[in-house]
């Protein structure tokens, strides 16, 4: 167990190192970063000045090591547009994004898990049919379109909920639903198939045969085992949601990291873009590490299988 944990930690560190290479490369894509950083009409001497300032005349690997050394300390440079350290901006906007992501994921879980289980228990019933139509629609609806439709119906036509901004719980409902819909569909589908699989297991049949009450069989024996794969999904889904937040925040004018990132890309604020990509990737790696630990705790067979690989 301990060895597995240590190896898993090492892997995470390696992944973050890889992320840093890509984030570094992002700025050097066009060969000359000053072209990205300066407006097109910049004068030749401004270009030269910036090159010297950023140390762009050094060999690439020297620049990378310098970048990495700073990044490890959380120093991604100062945002060109806001003239504030990039990390400060991220910490200002991250709570809004985490709030939105958590609400989206929470909503998805609260709706999808019971729906999936119910669909599995009442297989081929009306409930099952409604659920599978919902799953199909949820997986086919792009988040930006769903967002627009929600705004059209609930904000414009009905006037029940605010269309944009972050002002109290009411403003969270629409963006959280738009963001969570895709995950909701996927989780419901997983919950249904997972539950069906567990219900077909021998031990469930045995429990029924020896006369354990149906209620107990379903909710105590079956549910517990059906929940295990859901735990990993939640970790991966969180990453999907962080990415989806970029679009959702743009539509609903939600003041989070995603909107900050889109804004930074269009205003050529590359230090800020680099910092955001790095931070979101780190967040993803950490969450999945935690989920993996949780997973091995719930299902001890996992460690055995993984250490054999």
């Amino acid at each position: 167990m301990f060895a597995y944990l240590l190896r898993r930690l090492g892997q995470s560190a390696l992944v973050l190192l890889g992320v840093s290479i890509i984030v570094f490369g992002l700025l050097h894509l066009t060969g000359d970063p000053t072209r990205l950083l300066l407006p097109l009409e910049a004068r030749e001497e401004d270009v030269r000045q910036l090159r010297a300032l950023l140390g762009l005349d050094d060999p690439l690997w020297v620049q990378y090591v310098r970048f990495l050394a700073r990044a490890v300390r959380g120093d991604f440079g100062v945002s060109f547009k806001h003239q504030v350290p990039a990390l400060t901006l991220i910490f200002q906007t991250l709570p809004a994004t985490l709030e939105l992501t958590a609400a989206g994921l929470g909503l998805a879980l609260v709706v999808a898990v019971p729906a999936g289980i119910l669909a599995a228990l009442r297989r081929n019933s009306l409930i099952d049919a409604v659920c599978s139509v919902g799953v199909l629609l949820g997986q086919a609806m792009p988040v930006y379109w769903l967002g627009l439709l929600l705004i059209l119906v609930f904000a414009v036509k009905l006037g029940w909920l605010p269309a944009a901004g972050r002002d109290g719980l009411a403003s969270l409902v629409l963006p959280a639903f738009a963001l969570g819909a895709f995950s909701m569909a996927r989780i419901a589908r997983m919950a249904r198939s997972g539950m069906l699989e567990v219900l077909a297991q021998d031990y469930v049949r045995t429990a029924r045969a020896v006369g354990v009450r149906a209620f107990l069989v379903t909710y105590k024996y079956a549910l517990k085992n059906a929940a295990i794969p859901l735990v990993t999904i939640v970790g991966l889904e969180f990453g999907v949601l962080l990415g989806g937040a970029v679009i959702t925040e743009t539509i609903f004018a939600w003041p989070g990291v995603g909107r900050l990132a889109v804004d930074a890309i269009f205003s050529r604020d590359y230090p800020l873009v680099q910092a955001i990509v790095a931070m979101l990737a780190t967040l993803f790696v950490v969450i999945n590490l935690v989920m993996d630990m949780l997973y091995t705790y719930l299902d001890p067979r996992i460690v055995l299988v993984r250490s054999r690989q």
């Binding site: 894509l29 997986q139 627009l148 679009i247 990132a261």
Partner: protein, 296 residues
């Protein structure tokens, strides 16, 4: 024995295997029909579109679909803020959505399958290296990476396809690697090796054909994803550039008119949803038919 089981297990919790074939194939037929219609319409757009998709008719701006009070016969789905015919733009937009989606899936499939084969077959350091790279791409928010790259390199058709493939090949690599790990332990592989096959031939003639099922299924599901992905990039302003009509652009244009002209955003959205739905149905059916045990 079967009677005893029948008593113990109520009819509604029969095992998941052996799901009714006919219902599944209805879905598949539905998906395939819709997809063929949309694909056909996209291919034949120049022939069947009533208007030039870029033609602006400023006197007929923001007309609703023809069944509404101010709607016009000659513009069945209405016109946009520049007086362009929405139906024609949707037909032409399908060319971009499907074309870019298919190209991106093909490219990411080639890259992902190759790396997945190498990782699974060679194992050891090759495997560890490739899988860490996969982890890196999984960790980075792909949409931000794509936006950054497209913005830096310029939003041409080719760049958009390249970036989409670059950020999604990991899906193929993961599934192929997992499959190859078990295939390479099977007898026919060691048999082929014993007969003196080189590893390249072994991979292409014996391992790859046995890993085709998940590849086909993933490719279908990825096509659905790529269509959404492409329109998301367009929606954010970093897709294929105007005046080429794309569904994502139309949605993004319609965004500013949500309150006053609902049809601008609704129809391109419907087009995306129908296409993705059809592709997903097809993918589900392929998975259930080719290998019901596949978990994707």
């Amino acid at each position: 024995m079967s009677e005893v089981v029948g008593v113990a297990v109520p009819a509604d919790v029969q095992p998941a295997v052996g799901a009714p074939r006919r219902r599944l194939s209805f879905r598949a037929v539905f998906g395939l029909t819709v997809l063929l219609c949309i694909g056909g319409a996209a291919v034949l757009a120049p022939q069947i579109a009533p208007w030039d998709p870029a033609r602006q008719m400023l006197l007929k701006r923001l007309r609703p679909p023809m069944w509404e009070a101010r709607g016009l016969r000659e513009h069945p789905l209405g016109t946009d803020h520049l007086g362009r015919d929405i139906l024609s733009r949707i037909l032409y937009g399908g060319r971009i959505s499907l074309g870019v989606g298919l190209s991106a899936v093909t490219l990411s499939c080639l890259v992902g399958v190759t790396l997945g084969l190498l990782a699974g077959f060679h194992g050891g350091r090759t495997d560890a290296l490739i899988m860490r790279v996969v982890d890196v791409f999984l960790a980075i928010p792909y949409i931000l990476l794509a936006m950054g790259v497209v913005f830096a390199l310029g939003a041409s058709l080719l760049n958009v396809i390249l970036v989409m493939a670059l950020t999604r090949w990991v899906q193929f690599a993961r599934i192929v690697r997992a499959d190859v790990l078990s295939i390479r332990e099977r007898e026919f592989v060691s048999g082929a090796r014993a007969r003196g096959n080189r590893s390249m031939r072994l991979l292409l003639r014996h391992v790859l054909p046995n890993a085709l099922t998940p590849i086909i299924v993933v490719a279908t599901l990825e096509l659905a994803f790529m269509i959404i992905y492409e329109s998301a990039l367009s929606f954010l302003g970093l897709g294929v550039q105007p005046p080429t009509p794309t569904w994502g652009w139309m949605l993004s244009d319609g965004r500013n008119y949500v309150a006053t002209a609902w049809w601008l955003a609704t129809f391109p959205g419907l087009a995306i949803m129908l296409t993705v739905l059809a592709v997903n149905l097809l993918g589900d059916w392929l998975r259930d038919t080719l290998d019901p045990r596949l978990k994707l």
